[in-house]
């Protein structure tokens, strides 16, 4: 069936020939101006004076704006109104935009920014987690706490107890296409914005606020992004608003794109954090009680930090049925870039916490880590109903758990047990190189935790030649959403794939959309597209029935043919005659996720419609002399339900794993003592290259279907596979553990130096 075919990306032909346009590729009208921000070099302080006379005098500069020049809202935050476009009196991080230059070229604008004289009286900057805790610098009045059972008293009955700490670095998105926006001023003060954003509606709202115009006067169009990964959920607001303001002031088209260094320095990244744990467990490794403390460094503004830190708490259990658990989450405010969404949205951090605990327990008991994990799993969906269903630390029943079967299947197909023995044998005969192998599972909750975001709209239009244009609220960032949705439309309409095209996301076609985030793009928009198609098919069936004297329920639309007893018509014939019969050939569709309800303060409810599952086994080798390491093999079994497009889903899984492994191994962000980001280019920040991918990489899809009625029973796939990268980290820990009797206490990112140091810790020779 077409919805499940492994069709290439919808614009693959354009991409491979260089004709797919990104914002910076769109031919601009004559007279287009270009923008650049002047940035703060100080992490915290009061702006004493800003002298922009030399900037204004620079030939080619048309306009220079400071906060005081902005006519209306000076805010680009997604929700809290705490993020001025241009610093207003104070600077809160090194890299914060202070003024905006509008000039005749990109380079002119950038050069002109350097002519400014900005005086800032520096104040003590709060940069680290420890500094923030000491200063009580945090968002919300205190930590959020979710509790299940009585973790403290249960600790008294614990047979074994371990305490530990893991530091997790942040992560730069490094979307290959940097942030970019283009504003085209129109009639009536209208504004058309092309933006590289995952959230066109938010861009629309922020532009409308900044110009004090109605939302209907702003149209945002997004054909594609060159990668997003969460980094374009809110971080594009500043560029789009700046362009709209400049276009409004000058009456000319205005464009802005960040240079890569600026992109690193200005925009938010994955939250780095520290997780403390205190776990009680029995002889079999079953967790009896567990307390986590999450310390999230959120940066200077709220952005999406609360839901990110919430999601970390919501994944602190991962796949494990914890009888007593307490999760305390501190959201710390620091003078650094405002940390933001990044694939997994806090989930990966929370999950690393519990996987670290499992690793530590297994090490202390000298048990097989995969076995310890299985002993702690939630009950399997297929098993007999338990007297009382297991609930998560946030009181949601886990009813669709399939990791028991998936784990068994993966361990068998990758020959885990035999390879584990082989690794041990190999290690016994190699003094300098050590191998490690590790298994890790993923259980990832699907739905926006902010319940009202779980809605989507679509507009499906059929033209008289039978061609179909679908439009929906989702954005294309490489994940293949557009192709999946054309496949959904083809299947729902029974039309041929070739007649269907998805057009650029456009706020004037489908309004009030949610960000393409939380892995929800296909789930939400697929259902909306299907709803619109169902409406159209209903009309077409009624029309065919009336015209040919058959019953509507006897008519079938499939593969471009319309059939009923004694009747065969082509799709095109039906559409042409429907038009002549004055049948409306366009329809909207709408979907809202059922069943979910969530109270984030109480930490109770059903935040997710379902869980997506996966399991990975990764084998690595380390050089104990240097800490160098490489991934030898990775096997993944992943649950996409009934996949909408297996090839695209496998691509998400492969890419997610490599990106996740990058986060935990080579990708290191370093700030200096004054709060300057020192790793702001690919020459200092290492993302995986071709040579870093696993030598052997087997990815299989679990042959199941979603228990929930999602679009063709598929499951979301964007974020969950990212967390398979955790298996690479655990494999490194396993390899290091082969060097000595002590727990390696590996910290992330586990770059060569960290692995080298961990070898010393394992040997007990750390200085």
């Amino acid at each position: 069936m077409s919805a499940a075919a492994s069709l290439p990306h919808d614009a693959a032909r354009q991409h491979v020939s260089g004709s797919a346009r990104y914002v910076d590729d769109i031919p601009t009208p004559q007279g287009t101006l270009h923008l650049a921000f002047g940035l703060s070099s100080c992490a915290a302080g009061q702006i004493r004076s800003v002298d922009l006379s030399a900037v204004r005098a620079c030939p080619g500069v048309h306009l220079v704006l400071e906060a005081k020049d902005l006519p209306y809202a000076n805010d680009v935050s997604p929700s809290a109104h705490d993020e001025p476009l241009l610093a207003d009196g104070h600077v809160h991080y090194a890299g914060q935009p202070i003024f905006l230059v509008v000039a005749e070229s990109h380079h002119l604008a950038r050069r002109a920014t350097r002519l400014a004289k900005v005086e800032i009286t520096a104040e003590p900057a709060i940069l680290t987690i420890e500094q923030a805790l000491t200063a009580e610098s945090r968002f919300e009045d205190g930590p959020r706490i979710y509790t299940k059972g009585t973790p403290q008293s249960a600790m008294k009955g614990a047979i074994h107890r371990l305490q530990g700490q893991i530091n997790l670095g942040g992560q730069e998105h490094f979307y290959l296409e940097g942030q970019a926006a283009l504003a085209l001023p129109g009639d009536h003060g209208d504004m058309v914005i092309h933006s590289s954003t995952q959230h066109p509606t938010e861009i629309q709202h922020k532009v409308a606020e900044a110009l004090n115009i109605a939302q209907h006067a702003v149209r945002v169009e997004v054909r594609r992004m060159g990668g997003g990964f969460g980094g374009k959920e809110s971080q594009g607001n500043a560029l789009a608003v700046a362009c709209a303001l400049a276009a409004s002031f000058t009456g000319r088209p205005c464009k802005m794109r960040y240079d890569r260094d600026d992109d690193f320095i200005i925009t938010g990244k994955r939250h780095d954090c520290r997780i403390d744990y205190d776990v009680g467990f029995d002889d079999s490794g079953r967790v009896q009680t567990l307390e986590f403390a999450h310390y999230f460094r959120c940066g200077w503004a709220l952005d999406l930090s609360l839901p990110v830190a919430d999601r970390a708490m919501l994944h602190a259990d991962n796949a494990y049925d914890l009888p007593h658990v307490k999760i305390t989450s501190h959201r710390l405010k620091t003078n650094t870039q405002s940390a933001t969404a990044f694939r997994g949205f806090g989930g990966p951090q929370g999950m690393v916490g519990i996987e670290r605990v499992m690793d530590h327990i297994a090490h202390s008991l000298s048990c097989d880590p995969a076995e310890v994990r299985r002993r702690n799993y939630y009950p399997e969906m297929s098993s007999k109903p338990a007297a009382r269903p297991s609930v998560t630390p946030y009181q949601m029943e886990v009813t669709d758990f399939i990791l028991g079967d998936m784990t068994e299947s993966l361990l068998q197909r990758c020959d885990y047990h035999a390879r584990k023995v082989e690794v041990a044998r190999w290690n016994a005969s190699h003094a300098l190189l050590k191998r490690g192998i590790a298994f890790s599972p993923v259980k990832f909750g699907i739905s926006f935790t902010l319940t009202h975001l779980n809605q989507a709209g679509a507009l499906v239009q059929i033209y008289t030649d039978g061609s179909v244009l679908i439009n929906h609220g989702g954005t294309e960032m490489g994940q293949g959403l557009f192709q999946k949705l054309t496949q959904v439309a083809a299947r729902s309409l029974g039309a041929q794939q070739a007649v269907i095209r998805a057009s650029a996301t456009d706020t004037s076609k489908v309004p009030n959309t949610s960000a393409t985030a939380a892995s929800s793009g296909a789930d939400l928009n697929g259902m909306a597209v299907q709803a619109a198609c169902d409406t159209l098919i209903g009309r077409l069936k009624d029309h065919v029935a009336a015209q040919h004297g058959v019953k509507p329920e006897e008519i079938t639309f499939a593969e471009g043919q319309v059939t009923a007893p004694g009747l065969v018509l082509t799709w095109q014939e039906v559409i042409a005659s429907a038009y002549e019969a004055r049948i409306s050939l366009s329809a909207t569709g709408f979907y809202k996720t059922p069943e979910i309800a969530w109270d984030r303060i109480k930490g109770a409810g059903q935040p997710f419609l379902y869980f997506a599952y996966g399991a990975a086994v990764t084998e690595v080798v380390i050089d104990t002399l240097t800490g160098e390491n490489r991934i030898l093999r990775c096997d993944i079994l992943h649950d996409c339900g009934a996949s909408l497009n297996p090839a695209l889903d496998v691509g998400q899984i492969e890419g997610g794993f490599v990106q996740g492994a990058g986060w935990l191994t080579t990708e290191e962000l370093v700030w200096d003592a004054s709060g300057q980001l020192k790793t702001h280019a690919p020459s200092t920040y290492k993302i995986p290259a071709c040579s870093d991918r696993p030598e052997i990489f087997n990815v299989d899809l679990w042959p199941g279907q979603n228990a929930q009625k999602t679009i063709y029973r598929s499951k979301a796939v964007g974020e969950p596979p990212f967390m398979h990268g955790i298996s690479a980290f655990l494999a490194l820990s396993n390899a290091v553990a082969a060097c000595g009797p002590h727990y390696p206490d590996l910290q992330a990112p586990a770059n060569s130096e960290e692995v080298f140091n961990a070898v010393a810790r394992a040997r007990g020779s750390a200085s």
Binding site: H107, R114, L625, T666, V670, K686, E753
Partner: protein, 263 residues
């Protein structure tokens, strides 16, 4: 990037003359370092003098055990030179692991030596091989050429034309690349000269750029073997601690890379 003037020289001497006439000129060889440096506004030359058309700066000649490599010879050309590989494989291997394919098509040995980046590979080779740096006005021994990071003995209007050396009896290069930049976090070139003495040069690890390592030279002069490295103390003094690794880690890398260089 600041404004600059562009000149194309047909010969090394013409380039030297142009350099002499310019207020603050820079030679543009492959541009793989100069252009990024100019983009970051860390360099502001009034003039750049492109020497890519200077035929007298190109080519690899081998006469017996004497090797001469023209300054404009690219990393890819060094890496792929069969005769050189037969005589001195270590330098070909070194060249083959600089940057990436596109960088190797543009970057040149002369540019690398003249720039003397503290983490570049070629300076280690030149120093360990006791190379002679030929310029438009003289010949400089490698020992006198490198004067600390980004600093060389070159005069303002002097251009490297070639580098020459006697192929060593044995040689090797061990490099621990920074995974992001692919520059050396520690690179050690070891050479056993015809007289049996060992020369060892370390790049990437020092606070002041490429340098010879007395301890390693003494140990390897006595015994050309990886085991000889074990007993050598790598002092942390003068080693670099930065965001990529601290001095203790680098000291360890120097030792391990020295062993790898020995094969």
């Amino acid at each position: 990037m600041y404004e600059t003037n562009f000149h194309k020289a047909a010969t090394a001497q013409e380039a030297a003359a142009l350099l002499n006439r310019s207020e603050d000129g820079k030679i543009l060889a492959g541009g793989q370092t100069l252009i990024p440096t100019m983009k970051q506004r860390l360099a502001d030359p009034t003039d750049v003098i492109d020497v890519s058309a200077a035929a007298d700066l190109r080519g690899i000649t081998i006469a017996g055990d004497q090797v001469t490599i023209g300054a404009m010879t690219t990393h890819a050309e060094v890496a792929g030179h069969a005769a050189l590989a037969a005589l001195c494989p270590s330098i070909c291997k070194l060249a083959a692991n600089i940057g990436d394919p596109a960088v190797r098509h543009r970057g040149t040995i002369g540019g690398s030596l003249a720039n003397n980046d503290p983490a570049a590979d070629y300076p280690a080779a030149a120093l360990a091989l006791n190379a002679r740096i030929h310029t438009t006005s003289r010949e400089i021994a490698a020992d006198d050429f490198f004067e600390g990071m980004f600093t060389t003995a070159l005069e303002d209007d002097e251009i490297i034309t070639a580098v020459s050396f006697t192929a060593p009896a044995k040689g090797g290069y061990g490099k621990f690349p920074n995974p992001a930049s692919r520059y050396a976090m520690a690179g050690v070139f070891v050479a056993k000269l015809a007289d049996g003495s060992a020369r060892v040069a370390v790049t990437g690890a020092g606070e002041d750029g490429v340098h010879r390592h007395d301890g390693l030279e003494a140990a390897l002069s006595a015994d050309w073997a990886a085991s000889a490295v074990d007993g050598v103390e790598i002092s942390l003094d003068g080693l670099l601690s930065d965001l990529h690794g601290n001095a203790a880690y680098r000291a360890n890398l120097v030792k391990v890379m020295a062993k790898r260089a020995l094969g």
